[in-house]
Amino acid sequence: MSLTPAPIAEVGFYEPWWMQIVKTLVIFGIGFSLVPLALLYERKLLGRFQNRPGPNRVGPFGTLQPMADIFKLVTKEQFKPRGSIGWLFILSPLLAMVAALATFALVPFSGRPQDIFGTPVGLYGLDSSIGLLIFFAFSSIGAYGVLLGGWSSGSKYSFLGAMRGAAQLISYEVSQGLALLGIVMTAGTLSLSGIVEHQSGMWFILPQVVGAFIFFVATLAEINRTPFDLLEADSELVAGYMTEYGGGRFALYYVAEYVHLVMAGAMFATLFLGGWQLPFGIDPPGWIDPIVVLAKTALIVTLIVWIRASLPKVRYDQLMSFGWKVLLPLATLNALVTAVILVVTDK
C-alpha cells in the first residue's frame, strides 16, 4: 500500500500540516467576521442612498448594530413548524452556510508565499488546478440549502420560494459558467491564482468586458440579490424559502447570504479585476496584496448594494426569459468569439 505521494486535487501546498490547520481556522474566522462588516456596510450604505442615517444607535456611529442583530437572533427561541420535516429543516441552513463559507477558502489573497513566523505561507486556503470548478461545485451544493429548506418547511410560501430558487439557480449557473469560458481559454488554466497571474499585463475586464457583464448579472441571480431576489420576494412570498425560519437557523441563512455577497465581490475581483495586482506596474510589498484584494471586493460589494438601492425586482417570467434568451446566447457567443480570436492570433 505504498502509493506515490498522494496530492488530492493537485494542491500547491507550501506549509507544514499545523500551518494548514491554522490557516483553516483563520479563513473560517475571517469569513465569519466579514459577515457583520458586510451587514453594517450594506445597511449604512442603503440608509445613505435613501437619505437617512442608517443604524446609528448601538455603539459609536451604529457600528455595533450587527452584533445586536446577531445576539437577538441567536438568543431567540428555536421553533419548528408542525408541518416541517425535522432533520431536513435543521440541516438545510447548515448546508447553505457551510457551502457558502467553503468557497471563501478558494480566494487567492497573494501570489507569493508570505513569511509568517519563519514559515512560508500561501495566502489562500486551497490553490487547486481546478479551483474555478470547485467554486461552482460548492455553489451548486449551496442550492440544496435553499431547495431543501423551503421544501421541508411545510409551508406554501417557503415551497414556492424554494421552487423558484431551484429554477433560478440552475438557469443562471449555466450563463455564469459559460461567461467564464473566455477567461479560462485566455489564461489557459482553471486555477484561480493562475488566472490572477495571467492578468499582470491587462485585467480581464478589458478584453472580456462582455463576459464580465454576464458573469456579474448571473452572479447577482446566483446570490439572490436585487433585481433577482425572487427567492425571497417579500412583496409576494412573505420571505420565500426562509419564511418559517427564525432565530439561529434564520441567522445561518443570513450569514450564508452575506458570505455570498462578499464572495461575489471577491470572485469578480479575482477573475476580472486582477486579484492582488495593481495597475501601471506598481509592485508593492507582499503584505499589501490582501488589502488590494479586499479593496476590490469592497468596490464590487458597493456596486451590488447600489443596485439594490436603485432597481426594482424583475418579474419571474422576465427573469427566466432574460436568463435563457439573452444571457445564455450572449455567453455562448462570447465564448465562441474569444475562441476564434485566440485561434487566429495563436502564437
Binding site: 488530492i8 486535487a9 488546478s129 461545485a137 440544496y144 415551497f159 421552487m163
Partner: protein, 232 residues
C-alpha cells in the same frame, strides 16, 4: 488519510445506493441518490481524478439532481401511485438484480483482485487534469464522445417534442401553439393584461376580451354593472 476517507465514502455510497431502491418516499430516494453521488465524488478524489470528482458534483449533484428534487417536490407524493409491482415483475426484478450482482462479482474477482497487493497502475504527473482529459476526449475517445453528445441531443429534442402542446388550451379550441405564443407568453400578469387588452388565458394570444368570451376570461365590465345595479 486515504484509508479513512475510503472507509467513510465507500460504505456511505453503498448504503445510499440501497436507500435509493428501498425508500418508499420518492423525495427521500432522490436525496439518497444525492448522498450516493457525493460519496462517489469522494471516491473519485481517492482515485486521483479530482476533475471527474468536481464535475460529478457540479453536473450530477448540482444540476441533474436539483431537477429531480424539483420534479419530486412538485408532483411526487409519499404514496405509491402504481400500487406496487405485479408479482411476476417482482420476481423478475429479483432475478435480474441477482444476475447483475453475480456478473459484477465474477468480473471483479476474475480481473482486478490480482492488483490488490500491487502499487496500482503507474500514472503520469498530470493524470486526471482537465488538459489530459480534454485531449483524450478529442483524440482517442472522439467517437464515443460525439456519439454520447448526439444521444443527449436526440433526448433533448425528443423531450421537447413530447412536452409540446399540440392543440389549443381551451376545450374545443383546435389551434396549433405558435412560436409567437412562447415569445410573448400571456397569462403572466402584464400591464397589457391588467387593463384588459389581452385575454390572459395562455395560448389564446391577443384574443380581445368581449363579454361573450369563453371560459377563463375575467368578468367583463357589463357583468359588473349588473351586480351593483338594480335586480331584475
Amino acid at each position: 488519510m486515504n484509508e479513512v476517507l475510503f472507509f467513510i465514502a465507500g460504505p456511505l455510497a453503498v448504503i445510499a445506493a440501497l436507500g435509493v431502491v428501498v425508500l418508499r418516499n420518492p423525495f427521500y430516494a432522490v436525496l439518497s441518490l444525492v448522498a450516493h453521488l457525493l460519496s462517489l465524488a469522494a471516491l473519485f478524489l481517492l482515485l486521483y481524478a479530482p476533475f471527474v470528482a468536481v464535475v460529478q458534483v457540479m453536473v450530477y449533484v448540482g444540476a441533474v439532481m436539483v431537477l429531480y428534487v424539483f420534479v419530486n417536490a412538485y408532483v411526487g407524493g409519499a404514496t405509491d401511485a402504481t400500487g406496487g409491482p405485479a408479482p411476476t415483475l417482482r420476481w423478475l426484478s429479483y432475478a435480474i438484480g441477482i444476475g447483475v450482482l453475480a456478473t459484477v462479482v465474477v468480473a471483479t474477482l476474475g480481473s482486478s483482485l490480482k492488483a490488490i497487493d500491487s502499487d496500482g497502475a503507474k500514472i503520469g504527473a498530470d493524470f486526471g487534469s482537465p488538459g489530459q482529459i480534454g485531449e483524450l476526449l478529442l483524440t482517442r475517445f472522439l467517437l464515443p464522445f460525439e456519439a454520447a453528445s448526439f444521444l443527449l441531443l436526440v433526448a433533448a429534442v425528443g423531450a421537447v417534442v413530447l412536452a409540446r402542446r399540440r392543440r389549443g388550451v381551451l376545450p374545443g379550441e383546435d389551434r396549433m401553439i405558435a412560436a409567437l405564443d412562447l415569445l410573448a407568453p400571456t397569462g403572466t400578469g402584464s400591464m397589457r393584461e391588467g387593463v384588459g387588452a389581452v385575454n390572459p388565458v395562455p395560448g389564446a394570444l391577443s384574443a380581445h376580451i368581449t363579454p361573450s368570451t369563453g371560459a377563463g376570461s375575467p368578468p367583463a365590465s357589463g357583468t359588473r354593472g349588473d351586480i351593483d345595479g338594480e335586480d331584475d
